[in-house]
């Protein structure tokens, strides 16, 4: 019987598994697949609308941040920084200011913590920068970057097309193709020799985020040195390396601390009917062949929202929580999920399970459904994480609180 069973290997699940394993709990992490980190920018958005530390008290009471509490957010951020620092993947930024990083099309994304290679150069509007585009990398948008970064007030001199050595590839390249190559020091040296002549007169160069996957900080710094100019990375459309790097760091850290990871199997919740108290006994694990029971003392549900199946929308308009069929708070027969325009606020972002300050999912009366079931991350209702720019912050804060509550 495992102490803590965590369902979902997204940011909140992975983070929760590390927190619990670090205090020597016996942790099992189960997930049907990878989470959404590879489709994210790999940064920690806490509250993009304004400075996080100044905005907290103004956030409404039922918001996951308020339910988890500022203390949980502070501890979570500190723990996150420690984990990434120990994995040689440092982040810049803090809760007391806003960090702006360029996106693949030259917009500016406001975040709280960003990996060093994305944020360190702290470009101001007078820093002359150039944008490098890599031949064969389809998801590279130099024209838009130049135009939009300029419109955003940056001193972009020009874009520089950069080629790759060797014969032409047989297909369009993904960012991961390049990242794997950049992990190799001889490749970096070869590329640096090829690119250096094209970069004369450039002080600061923005590149698509392809500079390594496994030891990204070291790769980034060594490549900067080889080129002799300042660099910064720009996340690409999926697969997004900053997200993948963070995911790898978290997976490896979890394994290092002894988390038992079961990937590729989905879960159905099991209720403990032997007790008078309402408890869950674990899950039915749907592995390659059949189902087997995995017993746990405590379960943390970190299955996310609609995107990765934590919540399911059916054709008849009903919505369901996919593991324990927890009660969801909506009154209409057919809850609105999508606003007519993509630019509107979307109702689906807010759906999920309501929780108390112990991160226990609640029934419609407001009581915990099960004593030993907790929730973290996107499965929790009450926040439009996209509009707020609070996705990763909520993941971390609620995971922190859920682990605390589960271990109590």
């Amino acid at each position: 019987m495992t102490d803590i069973l965590i369902i979902g290997a997204g940011l909140s699940g992975l983070f929760a598994s590390i927190l619990a394993a670090k205090v020597n709990a016996d942790v099992t992490l189960v997930s049907a697949g990878h989470g959404g980190l590879s489709i994210s920018h790999g940064c920690i958005d806490v509250w993009s609308k304004a400075t996080p530390s100044r905005s907290f008290s103004r956030i409404r009471k039922k918001h996951p941040y308020r339910i988890a509490g500022k203390r949980a957010l502070d501890i979570a951020i500190a723990a996150f920084e420690e984990i990434t620092h120990d994995a040689s993947y440092p982040f810049s930024g803090s809760l007391s200011r806003q960090l702006f990083i360029p996106t693949a099309i030259g917009a500016l994304h406001c975040t709280a913590l960003a990996p060093y290679s994305l944020a360190h150069s702290e470009i101001t509007n007078t820093t002359p920068i150039a944008i490098g585009s890599i031949a064969g990398l389809r998801d590279c948008f130099p024209e838009m970057l130049v135009r939009n970064l300029r419109a955003n007030g940056y001193a972009v001199e020009r874009s520089i097309p950069l080629s790759l050595p060797g014969s032409e590839p047989c297909r369009d390249l993904y960012s991961t193709d390049l990242a794997y190559r950049f992990d190799d020091s001889s490749f970096r040296e070869q590329i640096a020799q090829l690119w250096k002549p094209r970069l004369s007169g450039i002080h600061c160069l923005g590149l698509p985020a392809v500079l390594g996957l496994r030891q990204p900080h070291q790769v980034f710094q060594s490549f900067q040195e080889l080129l002799g100019i300042k660099l910064f990375e720009i996340p690409t459309p999926p697969p997004s390396l900053p997200g993948l790097r963070l995911e790898k760091v978290l997976f490896n850290t979890a394994i290092h601390f002894g988390v038992n990871i079961i990937l590729g199997s989905s879960a159905t919740g099991l209720i403990d009917r032997s007790q008078k108290l309402k408890r869950v006994s674990g899950i039915k694990l749907h592995a390659a062949n059949s189902s087997r029971h995995l017993k746990a003392r405590n379960v943390i549900l970190a299955t996310g929202g609609f995107l990765h199946g934590g919540l399911i929308a059916r054709r008849d308009g009903s919505i369901h929580e996919s593991v324990f069929n927890l009660p969801l708070d909506y009154s209409e027969n057919r809850p609105a999920l999508l606003a007519p325009s993509i630019f509107d606020e979307q109702p689906y972002e807010k759906h999920g399970v309501r929780v108390n300050s112990q991160m226990q999912p609640l029934d419609l009366k407001g009581d915990p459904v099960y004593e030993n079931l907790f929730a973290a991350g996107g499965i929790i209702a009450g926040a439009d994480r996209q509009s707020e720019g609070s996705r990763q912050g909520i993941d971390l804060a609620t995971a922190q609180r859920a682990v605390e509550a589960a271990l109590e």
Binding site: G33, R171, D177, P238, S265, H286, A287
Partner: protein, 406 residues
């Protein structure tokens, strides 16, 4: 309703599979699992041949299916595309996909064969004329096969087991353990017996996975159906089957149904009654396992969980036990695949890609300066050993050492 459509429908094009594919990341000859799997699948038509979409570069490691959050059986889709008529399959593939035949033949001439496969002239010739890479790893043939040395354990029918009161389990050894690594089979039996189980060897043939990987589906199905026929009488008596080769066990649990399309009641029974060795002992005899008195094994080791094991969806059960062994410092490789993926890395035209896939694992072993490497799959062991020149053990060998069995 054909399940295929439902699973193609599930693909959101998110590229999570592509990002994790060990082959796509080292060669642009492979279009990537998303492109070759669900993306190409939409264009399938009974009258128009789907053009070559580079599916032969897929090593069938199964990582794409494992990481997909949307239930797309990517690896299975691509595996099915590899099916070819017999006449279109090169001779080499027809040979290397039949390890049982090879093993049976070679066993008779074990001494000569071992000398030949170590001869660089022979290997060069095989490379040039058959396309079997001279740099790939070949195991040595054992002088005495497992079945010969354990012939007393052979049980043809469950009637012979009626008197047994202990928990009984049938051991599926597979061709590799039988002909190439009988020690592993012997240790498996002894560990199971030490844990209080009654072990026997049922009638069995090659699991057929190498044939499937090389597109010879009909031949694979023949072997699959033979295994099902032999094992069903035991399964009906609720006797489970345990294996030490995660690839064979994955074939039983999964490929027979999901790739070869054998969806009978017996096939389902086999799927539900098959277990990986460590999965089995943790699930069936947990108390005996918890009572094991582990002797110290002082070593620094790198554990590489094979791709086929990850495909079971049971996590890495051997780790749970290895972590209990005092003195054993374990590092766990995060590489999804060591590169050989069964018969893939053995082929001359694939060797370089296979090597690139596993390169980081070899580098990690050197960087950590480990004493040995651990991996559950036989082809992984031979491949990693060849490229690191370090011993590579099945985790049960370490357990056996710690239990004092060897």
């Amino acid at each position: 309703m054909n399940h295929e459509f439902l699973s193609t429908d599930h693909c959101l094009k998110c590229n999570i599979c592509t990002a994790s594919c060990p082959v796509a990341s080292v060669t642009d000859q492979f279009l990537g699992p998303k492109a070759v799997g669900p993306q190409a699948h939409r264009f399938q038509h009974p009258h128009y041949a789907l053009p070559d979409v580079s599916e032969e570069w897929c090593s069938s490691c199964g990582t794409c299916t494992i990481v997909c959050p949307h239930d797309v059986p990517v690896a299975e889709m691509i595996a099915k595309m590899k099916e070819r008529p017999h006449r279109e399959t090169p001779w080499r593939d027809r040979i290397i996909s039949r390890p049982e035949v090879l093993g049976r033949f070679a066993a008779r001439f074990a001494g000569i064969v071992n000398r030949l496969i170590n001869s660089s002239r022979v290997r060069t010739a095989l490379d040039r004329f058959l396309g079997i890479s001279s740099k790939a790893s070949f195991p040595s043939i054992a002088r005495t096969s497992l079945r010969k040395s354990l012939r007393d354990y052979y049980v043809k029918s469950p009637n012979r087991l009626e008197e047994i009161s202990r928990l009984t389990v049938g051991y599926f050894h597979g061709c590799s353990t039988n002909y190439f690594e009988p020690l592993i089979g012997e240790l498996a039996v002894r560990i199971l017996e030490a844990l209080g189980l009654y072990v026997f060897l049922p009638p069995q043939v090659c699991c057929g996975l190498p044939l499937q990987s090389n597109g010879l589906f009909d031949a694979a199905r023949k072997l699959a159906n033979e295994n099902i026929k032999y094992l069903t009488p035991f399964l009906r008596e609720k006797i489970p089957i345990v294996g030490t080769s995660p690839s064979c066990m994955l074939a039983f649990k999964h490929d027979y149904r999901s790739v070869l399309g054998i969806d009978t009641e017996e096939a389902n029974l086999l799927a539900n009654s098959s277990y990986d060795f460590f999965e089995f002992i943790l699930q069936f005899v947990p108390e005996d396992v918890s009572r094991i008195n582990y002797n110290k094994v002082t070593a620094l080791a790198l554990y590489h969980p094979p791709c086929q094991l990850r495909g079971h969806g049971i996590g890495i059960p051997a780790l749970t036990i290895l972590r209990r062994i005092p003195g054993l410092h374990l590092e766990v490789s995060d590489l999804a695949c060591c590169g050989v993926a069964g018969t893939y890395g053995v082929k001359s035209e694939r060797y370089q890609v296979a090597y690139s896939v596993g390169e980081k694992l070899f580098q990690q072993a050197f960087a950590l300066d480990v004493d040995f490497i651990i991996s559950d799959s036989e082809t992984c062991r031979w491949w990693i050993s060849k490229h690191t020149e370090l011993p590579v053990y099945h985790p049960l060998e370490i357990l056996a050492r710690s239990m004092g069995i060897i």
